[in-house]
């Protein structure tokens, strides 16, 4: 029973980790907190939902289209909220991302309706392994998350583009002097982070078999909690914190109460903000 809960938590945690990693990538590179990350996550879920239910596409196609759509939305937000507002104060950029979150949320309500819709999948098989029940969807969640982490690790660590991203995150002026096209890197990073968020949206939609417009708001805050827990800009930190948050939440729901499940993660968040704002793995001056 306990192990079962641990593995359920692992699936939930991997979605948290995926969305938090995208978030940490954005914060670390652009030094901008995006308040519409949760809504991009929701848009990803809805795009995949449309691909599967209306266009009768395969699950793989849904993943690809959702990834691309979320990346496009991210690039749009980056262009309006960051490149056009380069000289303006940070609060203007924050307000723009908040504005976009409202636009996305309400546009989704207008397009797909405010009700909860179920994600049509023909795979609902499950099997038992060492007394623990795994559903096929859980396996998909694990696999996609792990693949994404490996790809992201390779991208950031081994390619020229990844090196440019890391350089921009470290010091964008120096990177610019060294010939990195900083604007393009910002745009790409935001799109990549958003795309990971959109992918997490598809996974959550699959896992809970439900998509609804308000699913992003809470998730955006969870991603933010995970980022703060992990040190805000640290990508491994975001992964660990995402899994940690998923486990804590699942165990708390299983053994304490389900009514206040979100309160636990916020309690952790506020505790960390007050007593250890730099998180578990953060540098002291990671963001000002």
């Amino acid at each position: 029973m306990f192990l079962q809960q641990v593995f359920n938590g692992l699936a939930q945690g991997s979605t948290y980790a995926l969305i938090a990693v995208g978030f940490a990538l954005i914060i670390g590179t652009l030094r901008l907190v995006s308040f519409c990350h949760g809504e991009i996550f929701m848009m990803g879920a809805y795009v995949a939902f449309t691909v599967v239910s209306r266009w009768q596409g395969s699950l793989l196609a849904a993943f690809v289209v959702a990834f691309a759509a979320a990346a496009l939305l991210g690039a749009l937000v980056e262009f309006v909220g960051f490149r056009l507002l380069r000289g303006a104060s940070r609060i203007s950029s924050l307000l723009v991302t908040i504005g976009f979150s409202t636009i996305f949320l309400n546009a989704a309500q207008l397009i797909w309706g405010a009700q909860t819709q179920s994600f049509p999948t023909d795979i609902d098989s499950a099997f038992e392994f060492m007394g623990i029940r795994f559903t096929f969807i859980q396996i998909v969640v694990y696999a996609v998350t792990i693949c994404m982490f490996i790809l992201l690790h390779l991208l950031l660590g081994k390619t020229k583009l990844g090196r440019a991203i890391r350089a921009t995150a470290l010091d964008h002026e120096a990177a610019f002097v060294m010939g990195v096209d900083v604007n393009r890197i910002y745009s790409f990073t935001y799109a990549l982070g958003s795309a990971l968020g959109g992918l997490a949206g598809v996974l959550v939609g699959l896992y809970y078999n439900a998509v609804y417009p308000a699913m992003g708001g809470m998730m955006g805050l969870k991603a933010f909690s995970a980022c703060i827990l992990g040190g805000l800009t640290s990508i491994p930190g975001a992964v660990v914190a995402g899994f940690f948050l998923g486990e804590i939440e699942n165990l708390a729901v299983a053994y304490i109460s389900s009514g206040f499940r979100h309160v636990f993660s916020f309690a952790i968040l506020i505790f960390f903000l007050i007593f250890r704002p730099r998180g578990l793995f953060g540098r002291k001056d990671s963001i000002r």
Partner: protein
Amino acid sequence: MKKLSYALIRCAPILGALLFFCTLPLYVRSDYILRVFVQIGIYVLLTSSLNIVNGYTGLFSVGHAAFFGLGAYGSAIVCTKLNLSFWQGLPTGMLIASLAAYVIAKPTLRLKGVFLTLVTMGSNMIIMLVFLNWDSLTGGSLGIMGIPMPEIFGTKFLRPLPYYYLIIVADILVIVLLDRLMRSRFGLTLKAIREDERAASCNGINVARYKTMAFVMAAVIAGAAGSFYAHYYRYISPEAFNFTESFIIVTMLAFGGPGNILGPVVGAAILVGVTEAFRAFADYRMVFYGTLLVLMMIFRSKGLLGGREYSLTITWPPVKKTVYSKGDRFLDTEKEENDEPAAG
């Protein structure tokens, strides 16, 4: 006599506004228009109070609807469970909102920038969840019905007219008080914190204390607005106080122009007016607000009234301004009258 007439001239804009709004129901006999004005009045209270935090102190709170809701729920619960009247519910709501603001602000105002924004957003969500889940007290998602209407000398407020007068008086009172306050030592301190927190603290300002005071003051006004809201609509539910509501308040402030006394009034009046005028497109309302906010930030990031400070009073008798010259002349009282620096 002379002093009195001078005082009257000084306060002419305020008295004029008071006169205009008090005689308005004589020309406008439609209850619908009065209801729109009451709605604007509620939002003017909310936006003005948020202005203390976001406009003057330079913090960035996006959870103001939490205090609005606490005021509404506090007043409604006291009135329905203990059979009290609006006049006892109002201070209760304000007290509850201010206590919550103190509890939230005290530990978190040490945080900077975006962390504070996040905490205000999170506390808004938590307070909404409490309204939603504490069934025995708040009625859960059904909300609270049958909140008593205010009465004065035994006459109940049945039509919108008395509500209109009540909210107009509250609005003008709050705006005049805020105008005075923001030009007092307290207001200057808040502005100093906004301009440069470190410099302010070097000058012996207890930054955390003043931020807390600004936060609690904003919550008290929002609580009063909430209590009024509860007794005006006589029904409240948690959805009215969620993050969307906070977002509307933030948009109104950003649209009108934060950091001056008239910005919230302009923002609230225009946005509520436009929303009412395009009732048929109510579904697109929030998309419109979001787009407006984004466009506003790109083209006029300081709001419609744009970062200037306006005064509600006229300086009378007119005084010659002493302007320090920039060149080799030391004092110049005659020329360069228009050369005063724009207040930020």
